[in-house]
């Protein structure tokens, strides 16, 4: 019977490779972590399911005219989806705590050391002949240390699309692991007394300051580092819609329906890069290892910078808030709050950590712009 042959040849049992089977298990693991452990579920559910679909043999969902491949081409290759997500994040971000204490921007700068140290690590592995990353790939891997999903996807899409799947997985996984990765480093680098430092209460910030800030930030970018303008421009646009008060219906749609729709398709599109051929390589292991290093170094740099600033600052700075400089909004700020409460049950650091937290978003976007300018 020809048709039965055709049916058998078309089945997954006949076509599946060992790699595809492994990727299906990895995708199920991502779904398990997202659902049961609540690891960044918005992205890991969608990426995980996309990975599942991409490894169904013969279905061709992630290649040619398959839906996931079309989504990838339309939304990720062009950079549109990460930029729209960034607009939505802007519409969700309150710069109030940052404006009340602008010097915490420096903590967001320090934490970007994780990015550049990781870049160097990736190049070192290549110099040692263990891996084979070129400068663009190393730069894309480094951005994992920025702890910012859309930034990492945007940069990887520009500089190293072949690594995009692994980089996105690493970025979101470690962002989810922030409550596990950061506290030991934070405790190692600070004393109980430092962690107990009570910070001066933040002043309230006027609406006009909040309206002007995104424009000010964009103008600085325009004059100094235009290659960061796509990312920070969309971020500032979302934030201006949020704060300006006259387009509330647009801001509302941006931070709800629009960001949700784009998140679904971004996740599926990233998932389309989890094909066995491109994901199951030794490079992926290298990326996962380097990503972990990037987070750790970024956390340490932030904390050490805060300690340094504390020496010179008139008002006390609790060094824990430096750890929030990696971004991973708002998880890192919550971790800071939790570790701070362990040392001093009356010390609420959440608001103070929000400043460096959003500063970290700006910092890694600046680093991303620089990488794109220099390496391309």
């Amino acid at each position: 019977m020809d048709l039965l042959d055709q049916l058998w040849n078309g089945s997954g049992l006949a076509q599946m490779t060992l790699g595809q089977f492994a990727m299906i298990l990895i995708s199920l693991l991502l779904l398990y972590l997202a659902i049961a452990k609540k690891f960044e579920p918005l992205l890991l559910v969608t990426i995980g399911f996309g990975g599942l679909l991409s490894n169904i043999p013969g279905a061709e969902i992630a290649t040619g005219n398959g839906l996931l491949h079309l989504i990838y081409e339309v939304g990720i290759e062009t950079g549109a989806f990460p930029l729209i997500i960034f607009m939505g994040v802007g519409a969700l971000t309150d710069f109030g705590p940052l404006l009340a204490n602008p010097k915490t921007l420096l903590l967001g700068a320090a934490a970007q050391f994780g990015i550049f140290a990781t870049l160097l690590g990736a190049l070192g592995l290549s110099a040692l002949g263990i891996m084979d990353f070129d400068l663009k790939q190393a730069a894309a891997i480094g951005i994992i240390g920025g702890a910012d999903g859309p930034t990492a996807i945007f940069v990887a899409g520009k500089l190293a699309p072949e690594l995009l799947g692994a980089i996105a997985i690493a970025a979101y996984s470690y962002m989810a692991l922030v409550p596990i990765i950061q506290p030991p480093i934070m405790k190692l680098l600070t004393t109980e007394k430092e962690r107990s430092i009570v910070m001066v209460q933040l002043r309230e910030v006027s609406t006009l300051e909040k309206i002007v800030f995104p424009l000010l930030l964009l103008l600085l970018v325009a004059f100094l580092l235009p290659s960061a303008a796509p990312l920070l421009g969309m971020f500032c646009f979302g934030n201006l819609m949020r704060e300006c008060g006259v387009v509330e219906r647009l801001a509302e749609t941006t931070r709800n329906a629009l960001i949700n729709i784009v998140t679904i398709f971004l996740g599926l599109g990233v998932g389309s890069k989890l094909g066995a051929d491109s994901f199951l390589t030794v490079e992926t292991l290298g990326i996962l290892a380097l990503g972990m290093v990037a987070f750790s170094i970024g956390t340490a740099s932030g904390v050490l910078m805060a300690k340094l600033m504390n020496v010179f600052s008139a008002q006390p700075i609790n060094p824990l808030i430096g750890a929030a400089g990696v971004s991973a909004v708002p998880m890192a700020a919550r971790v800071v709050n939790k570790v701070g409460l362990e040392a001093n049950p009356q010390n609420f650091l959440l608001m103070h950590a929000m400043g460096p937290n959003v500063a970290g978003v700006i910092g890694s976007a600046v680093a991303a712009g620089l990488m794109i300018l220099i390496t391309s």
């Binding site: 602008p102 921007l105 970007q112 309230e204 608001m351």
Partner: protein
């Protein structure tokens, strides 16, 4: 290969230098902007009083909230941000 490492080191130095310079400049311009808004009295332009998404818009200085108030805001913000999408 060591050429690659060298350009990595150079990129790291330029990179951290740029990030720090940019954010330091942002600290100063932000302070200048806040100073201009608050001390030059712009904070009372119509753009401020007419907008409507329910935030306290007080010009700086009157902040004598209690510790409980800040904690309440912190909890509210935390709740708000827990639904935030990154």
């Amino acid at each position: 290969m060591s050429g690659l490492l060298e350009s990595g080191i150079e990129l790291m130095m330029i990179g951290m230098g740029t990030v720090f310079s940019f954010l330091t400049l942002l600290v100063f311009t932000t302070r200048a902007m806040s100073w201009a808004v608050l001390k030059l009295g712009f904070a009372t332009t119509p753009s401020q009083t007419n907008i409507g998404h329910g935030q306290a818009a007080g010009a700086g200085g009157q902040g004598v909230n209690t510790q409980q108030h800040v904690a309440a805001i912190a909890v509210a913000l935390d709740t708000h941000l827990s639904t935030k999408n990154k």
